[in-house]
Structures are given as structure tokens and as C-alpha cells.
């Protein structure tokens, strides 16, 4: 089974990288762009066929390692 994890910086938390990318896009002429946030995207494979189990495991991985829940949110998809 494949899992995709999306880690984003919490709404209220400053995202300096997002601001820098937004500034760069503007100066490149992409002025219509706003609210840029830069997060992480993790793909992984799980040797499990059991969807329920996979879900629990991925959630645990996010909580323990993939996301820093003090400043980041995460969500995931299983395929």
C-alpha cells in the first residue's frame, strides 16, 4: 500500500519560506498569486494489505516523526 502525507505549517504560524516564494513569484510577474504556504510532501510504501492497520500506522508516523505537531498540521491519503 502507498501512503501520501502532506505536512503544512499551521495557519497562525509564520511561514517565512512561503513569504519568500510569494515575493519571488510576484517579482517574476505572477502578481495574481497570494497566500503561498510551503509544506512537505512525503510518499512511502507500506507492506500491509490491511487498510485500517495502515491508517493507524501512518497516523502514528506522522505524530512521531513526519510532522512537528507543535507548528505543523498533517493529513494523509492511502492508495
Amino acid at each position: 500500500m502507498k501512503a501520501k502525507v502532506y505536512v503544512t505549517i499551521k495557519q497562525n504560524v509564520l511561514d517565512p519560506q512561503g513569504s519568500a516564494v510569494e515575493g519571488a513569484l510576484h517579482s517574476l510577474g505572477f502578481e495574481e498569486v497570494g497566500k503561498v504556504r510551503v509544506g512537505k510532501f512525503v510518499e512511502l510504501e507500506l507492506q500491509t494489505a490491511d487498510r485500517g492497520e495502515a491508517e493507524a500506522r501512518v497516523k502514528a508516523m506522522c505524530e512521531k516523526l513526519l510532522a512537528n505537531t507543535v507548528i505543523e498540521d498533517y493529513r494523509y491519503e492511502l492508495e
Partner: protein
């Protein structure tokens, strides 16, 4: 007082009083009554928020003021002592060094990367807000034992946070210390120090000068970052309140670099009347202090504060701790000139207020007066407490402990290897290789010797710098431990070829409301003050971090000493590594049976007990003066101060730092061999000298009354130590180096 619309959901003055909501902000009933007295009415929500931060320990020093008064703060070279962002010390030729240390312990315990990073960012602002160019960073860290997962997580991320910020902004991180002890589990210490250079005539103050002058805000927009954790019990946890929850502060070193360059350029232009960084309590503290120092008032128009988030209330703006922000005052006619500078650097700059003559901090929001407080009350009228102090039982009990009660260490080579591999003593390369220690190309001694040395551009002078404190000694005897912390820092400076100039200190202690902790604080500061007087290194600034406690109680009292010294000529720079085959090894000072608080005790027996080593300030002073004289006279090849792990560890380190060169040492002693090798007696230094200089060196030391013995010679690839003719230690230096270098990486894999 007008009702504010935007904050309709905030409790009003009556509710704050009735429900004693001020208590959640850390304001006591008495303090609340006092605030009401100053206002002549009950404070509203913004006002109580502003008072609560201004009267917090962090801003008011209400529990520590009396002990801080013990420190000597003046001296012939001190241009500015405690009070401003950082202290300033003359180094001649119209130049001065500016430095300060600050803690970020609690933020780092929650979010280690950002906590440490913003700690570095904050201390850099303290330096450039004085008008000084930051030239070096240091850090003093304490963690629990590396066996613990959470400790490793904290250690890993604190170090990368420090690296991330300092490397990006382009200020070299050149020195520091890291110690590990379970006492710090759950409450790591993260103290960051910054050193800057300035010309005398450029020194700035945080004053709001000139009634009618505009007040400007510089830096990124304000968000709900790190707002005073006072949330209200009455407020249910809805999705909305979740979104309003104070956010962890995130550092943006790139932004700080731009703000720093722009501010230094602005200061250079000569138009700044007053400038201050927004540190703890952000806009509140900076505006109130600037007004107070000028004897003026300030009006702020909060709707003009650049905002990152929608719907921010006056309370949130006043208490936000968004990073990388500054406040400055100029004359109105200079506005365009200032703007041009900030525009070029791409930094936001907004006119947010005005200097007034009424001595009040007045807050306006969309034209309405939403807060009105006397500046004097905010800054100077916080009650000062004299907490109860009591000598703790452990202190008395320790006096009776015989530190020699454990059997003699059997295998001295193996013992040395174990101590070298103890994380506190082991090489910190894993840490400092993550720091850019060379940017600015003035780092003449990189991390890895007793003190770092950084050149003063365009001169033959240089600055030596270090941080030191052994919390175990301070715990066992705070007065002696305090004396040792200052003396060891000075000794490290002297060993590098510099004259110790002054101290910045960071008092990391437990809760001052516990009488035995307050006793530690009193005793430790007394010991430090004595040493500062004896060694002529006044305290020019510092920081207090109290309430450092974990589930098991307070951390070891850890008053970290940051010290800077002056190298008169780069030719005097001396490092700890042995230099050449055949050089004579000299041990200065007396070794006594002092194992209390030693690394030997901790590593072999897992205890920290007894009394720490003694320290006689007259002896220490004579030693330091003689060694500096010898170094300046060109008699010394290497110098290394003896600290954790004693003589054996110092010898091993001098061999390793010398590129793996060996040494052959013979000790004659009445002490037990393990004690002779691992005792941590103070006021000792290991020197090496070329054979043709050794006699002159010994004569000089004898003439100055410094005990000195030639104990061996440099050479070969082995470290050999015999004690009274019997073999004690014998090992390839490479073997010792392996144990020392691989210890921390091994934990951190």
C-alpha cells in the same frame, strides 16, 4: 474609556476583577490592587495584559533585583553597564566591544528548533540595536542524559536551530559549552550570547527622545506569535478559539539579516534618536522602556501596526512576540531618508506612534483610546520581592560526605577513556561542525580550544570569548561554584592570550519562591560577585531565567558566565594543542584530593556529592596574571586550563588538539593515583614550552609565586603518565581521540 469594538468578546474590567482573571496572567491580588491604584480605576483587558508582562519576572526582575545589586558593574573600561540592550566595554582606539547573553530555555523545551533559533535571533537584535556590528555568537547548553529519546530530540533540534539561524544570518558561532546531566531533563538550558563591535561615537540608546517625534516600527508584520499564554477559562475550546491560540514563534533569519543591515545603515546615517529591539513582550516592553528612559510618554496607533493576520486586537498586538522587529525614533524631517533605506532592503517600516510629554503609554485603535497607563508604573513600580531564603538540608549533609569513600579506580587508562567518552567531556565537534564558525573571516581560533579568538578588523587586536559554568559545583556549594564559574571563564580567556575584560551572566535557577532555591541564587551571585571583583571583570549585563524545574524539582543552579577578553596583538594568540616534539610540559597550581562534583564521581559512581573544589581568588588571580605575562613574553607554546576530568583529560586534549602528538609525563604525588589524575582542583593550567624557553618560563612563574612543576615532554604518538614511577596511563593518542570524538555521534546516530 471607550469601549472597543474589535475585542467585544474580551472580558471587561469588572469581569477581570470579579473573576480574578488577572491571576491567570500571573498577577497577584496585591499587584492587582497596586495597578488599580496607579490607574485610579480597574484596568481593562489590554491594560492588565500590558501590566502583567511588564511586571513579570522576565521584564521586571522583581525576584532577582536585590541579588543582582551585588555585582560590580563599573570599571575603567566599562562604557555602559547593565540597563541597555547590552553592555559596552572599551578596547582602545575609539572602539568598543558590546556583548550579552540571553536564555530561551522554555521555548526550546516546547519547540527546540524554533526556540533555540529565536533565542539566537533575539540576542543578535540586542547587539545591533546598540549600533554594534555583531561579529560572533556563542551558546551554552544543558540537557538531560543522552540515553533518553526526548533528550536526544531536544539536543538535535536545539543545535540545528542555533545553526540554522546563525549560519543564515552570517555571524560565526565560535564557542560554547554543552553539558549533560539528568538534572536538566525536561528543562534544557539554551543560552545564546552575541558579541559585537562598535565605535564609541556610534553607541545607541533605547530612548524615546523629543516630544512630538514619530515612532517607527520596523520588521515583518505582527502575528499572534507567542502571545502571553493567558487564555481564559471562560472561553470554550471552539474552532475559533483554536485559531486564536497563541502560535509558537518562528524565526526568519533572512528577515533579520535585512532588518540588521537596514538598521545599521540607518544608525550610521546619524539620524536615530533612540532605537530598541522588540524582545520579550514585544511592542509593550520596547515602547514603555523607551518612553521611561527618556522621561517621556508614547502614543501608539495600533491599527497602523503591520499585521499578518486578520482581526488582531490591541491586546494581541501589544503582547505578540513576533520576531525580527524593532522600534525607533527620529525627527519628522528625516522620515524620507529613513524610508529610502528600508525600501532598498525590502523591509517594512511603519509610523505607529509619537513621543509625548505626559509620561503615559496611550494606546489608540481606530481613533479610540483603548489603553492609558503611566509609563513609570509599568517600568519602575513593579513591587520588588525579597523571597525567603534558607540553607537547604542537602548542603549540610554533603559536608559530611567523604569523597574518597569509593575504592581507587583500578585501571587508569580505561578510566581516562571512559571519562573522555562521557558526553560532558567528549568532543563537541558534532555540535560545532554544524555551525559556520568562519564566516566574516576573522575567526583565528575556532571552536575546540579554551576560548575562541576573533580578530578586530583592521587592527592587530583580537577578542577572546568563552562561556562557562559547572552546575554541579554550584549545586554542591553555590558560593564556591559561582566563584569557579567566573574564574574558569577568565582562565580560559587568559589561556588564549587575552586579558579578561568583563562578564555577561545568565542566571538559570529553579523557582525563587522556594527558599532553598533562593538561597542558591543569593549564594551563587555572591560568589560570582567576589570573583568578578578579584579578577577585575565587572558584570556589564545579563539575563535571569527562573522557574527552571522539572518533575523531580529544580535544575542544578546554573549561572552561566559569558566572558570576553582582549588580545593585544595577534602574535599572543595561544591554543591548547601541544605544538612540537621535545616541548616541556608544565603543570601550574596545586592538585588536591578534590573529587566532589567531579566527572570521575559522576561517570564511575553515578553521584554528585560532597563539596566542590575550593577556590582561592588571590591564588587564581596570581596564576592568571603570571600566565598572561608569560604568553605575552613569548614563552608559552600551548596553554590549557584544567577543568572537567582534571589533569588526565587536559593532557589528552592537548595531545589530540596538537594533531595527535603524544606526551610522556611523570607525576610525583602523595595523592592516590586516580585522585592525582582526575581531581578537579581549581587554579591549574597546563602549559608547554620550547626547551630553550622552559627555564625562563619557570623562573617567571616562580617569581610570581605560582606553583609550577615540569612534569614531562611532548613527543611520540602515545600518552604515557606514570605516577610515582608506576605506570598509570598508557595509550595511543589515536585511541583516546576515538573514544573522545565518537562518543556523541554514537548517541546521535
Amino acid at each position: 474609556m471607550a469601549q472597543q469594538l474589535s475585542a467585544a468578546k474580551e472580558p471587561n474590567a469588572e469581569q477581570i476583577a470579579e473573576q480574578k482573571l488577572y491571576k491567570q496572567m500571573g498577577v497577584t491580588d496585591d499587584e492587582y490592587a497596586r495597578i488599580c491604584g496607579f490607574l485610579g480605576r480597574k484596568p481593562n483587558y489590554v491594560e492588565i495584559g500590558v501590566f502583567s508582562v511588564m511586571w513579570s519576572e522576565h521584564c521586571s526582575y522583581k525576584n532577582s533585583k536585590p541579588v543582582l545589586r551585588r555585582f560590580p558593574t563599573t570599571g575603567p573600561r566599562v562604557l555602559m553597564g547593565p540597563g541597555e540592550g547590552a553592555g559596552v566595554v572599551d578596547i582602545g582606539d575609539n572602539q568598543a566591544v558590546v556583548f550579552k547573553i540571553e536564555s530561551h530555555n522554555h521555548p526550546s523545551a516546547i519547540e527546540p528548533y524554533q526556540g533555540a533559533a529565536t533565542g539566537v535571533g533575539g540576542i543578535i537584535r540586542d547587539i545591533f540595536s546598540m549600533g554594534a556590528r555583531p561579529v560572533a555568537l556563542l551558546n551554552s547548553l544543558r540537557f538531560g542524559r543522552l540515553e533518553n529519546d526526548r533528550v536526544r530530540y531536544l539536543f538535535e533540534h536545539v543545535v540545528s536551530g542555533i545553526a540554522g539561524y546563525g549560519n543564515c544570518i552570517g555571524i560565526p558561532t565560535v564557542a560554547g559549552e554543552v553539558m549533560f546531566d539528568e538534572s536538566y531533563e525536561g528543562n534544557p538550558l539554551v543560552n545564546a550570547m552575541c558579541v559585537g563591535l562598535i565605535d564609541h561615537d556610534k553607541i545607541q540608546k533605547g530612548v524615546a527622545k523629543g516630544v512630538g517625534n514619530p515612532v517607527f516600527y520596523v520588521g515583518p508584520a505582527t502575528g499572534r506569535d507567542g502571545i502571553h499564554g493567558a487564555t481564559f477559562a471562560s472561553e470554550e475550546l471552539t474552532a475559533e478559539s483554536e485559531a486564536k491560540r497563541p502560535a509558537v514563534q518562528v524565526g526568519d533569519p533572512f528577515m533579520e539579516k535585512l532588518v540588521m543591515e537596514a538598521c545599521l545603515e540607518l544608525i550610521d546615517s546619524g539620524i536615530v534618536l533612540g532605537i530598541q529591539d522588540m524582545g520579550a513582550a514585544g511592542l509593550t516592553c520596547s515602547s514603555a522602556e523607551m518612553a521611561s528612559k527618556a522621561g517621556n510618554g508614547i502614543e501608539l496607533y495600533l491599527d497602523r501596526v503591520p499585521q499578518r493576520e486578520e482581526g488582531m486586537t490591541p491586546y494581541e498586538m501589544m503582547l505578540s512576540e513576533s520576531q525580527e522587529r524593532m522600534l525607533y525614533v527620529i525627527r519628522p524631517e528625516h522620515e524620507a531618508q529613513a524610508r529610502a533605506i528600508f525600501d532598498r532592503w525590502g523591509v517594512i517600516c511603519a509610523k505607529v506612534g509619537k513621543v509625548t510629554d505626559d509620561g503615559r503609554l496611550k494606546l489608540f485603535h481606530h481613533g479610540e483610546l483603548v489603553g492609558d497607563m503611566p509609563v513609570g508604573a509599568l517600568v519602575d513600580e513593579c513591587p520588588v520581592y525579597n523571597p525567603a531564603s534558607q540553607e537547604p538540608a542537602y548542603y549540610r549533609e554533603n559536608a559530611a560526605i567523604d569523597t574518597l569513600r569509593y575504592p581507587e579506580a583500578a585501571n587508569l587508562t580505561e578510566t581516562l577513556r571512559r571519562i573522555l567518552a562521557s558526553p560532558t567531556v567528549a568532543s563537541k565537534e558534532w555540535v560545532y561542525n554544524q555551525y559556520d564558525s568562519m564566516v566574516r573571516t576573522e575567526t583565528f581560533v575556532r571552536p575546540g580550544s579554551d576560548a575562541a579568538v576573533v580578530g578586530v578588523p583592521g587592527t592587530r587586536k583580537a577578542l577572546a570569548m568563552t562561556t562557562d559554568c559547572n552546575g554541579r559545583y554550584v549545586y554542591l556549594d553555590p558560593a564556591v561554584g559561582g566563584r569557579i564559574a567566573v574564574s574558569e571563564a577568565a582562565r580560559n580567556i587568559v589561556c588564549s592570550g587575552a586579558l579578561p575584560l568583563a562578564v555577561t551572566d545568565n542566571l538559570n535557577f529553579g523557582s525563587p519562591e522556594k527558599p532553598d532555591i533562593f538561597w542558591q541564587l543569593e549564594q551563587a551571585t555572591e560568589g560570582m560577585a567576589e570573583a568578578c571583583r578579584a579578577l577585575e571583570t565587572p558584570v556589564i549585563g545579563g539575563n535571569v531565567s527562573l522557574y527552571n524545574e522539572n518533575a523531580k524539582g529544580a535544575i542544578y543552579p546554573t549561572p552561566v558566565v559569558g566572558m570576553v577578553g582582549l588580545v593585544e596583538d595577534v602574535d599572543h594568540i595561544t591554543t591548547q594543542g601541544f605544538k612540537a616534539e621535545g616541548d616541556i610540559v608544565l603543570l601550574l597550581g596545586d592538585t588536591k584530593a578534590e573529587l566532589g562534583g567531579s566527572e570521575l564521581q559522576y561517570v564511575l559512581h553515578g553521584v554528585t556529592e560532597g563539596r566542590p573544589p575550593e577556590l582561592d581568588l588571590a591564588v587564581e588571580r596570581a596564576l592568571q596574571q603570571a600566565v598572561l605575562e608569560a604568553i605575552r613574553g613569548g614563552l608559552v607554546a600551548s596553554a590549557h586550563d584544567l577543568s572537567e576530568g582534571g589533569l588526565a583529560v587536559a593532557l589528552a586534549e592537548s595531545c589530540i588538539s596538537g594533531g595527535g602528538i603524544g606526551a610522556s609525563v611523570a607525576l610525583e604525588t602523595e595523592l592516590r593515583p586516580d585522585v592525582a589524575l582526575f581531581s578537579e582542583s581549581q587554579s591549574r593550567i597546563l602549559l608547554s614550552a620550547r626547551p630553550d624557553k622552559a627555564d625562563a618560563l619557570q623562573e617567571l612563574l616562580a617569581a610570581r609565586g605560582v606553583p609550577c612543576r615540569a612534569i614531562g615532554t611532548v613527543g611520540g604518538s602515545e600518552l604515557r603518565i606514570t605516577v610515582n614511577g608506576k605506570e598509570g596511563v598508557r595509550s595511543d593518542v589515536a585511541q583516546l581521540e576515538k573514544a573522545w570524538k565518537e562518543a556523541i555521534p554514537c548517541y546521535m546516530k
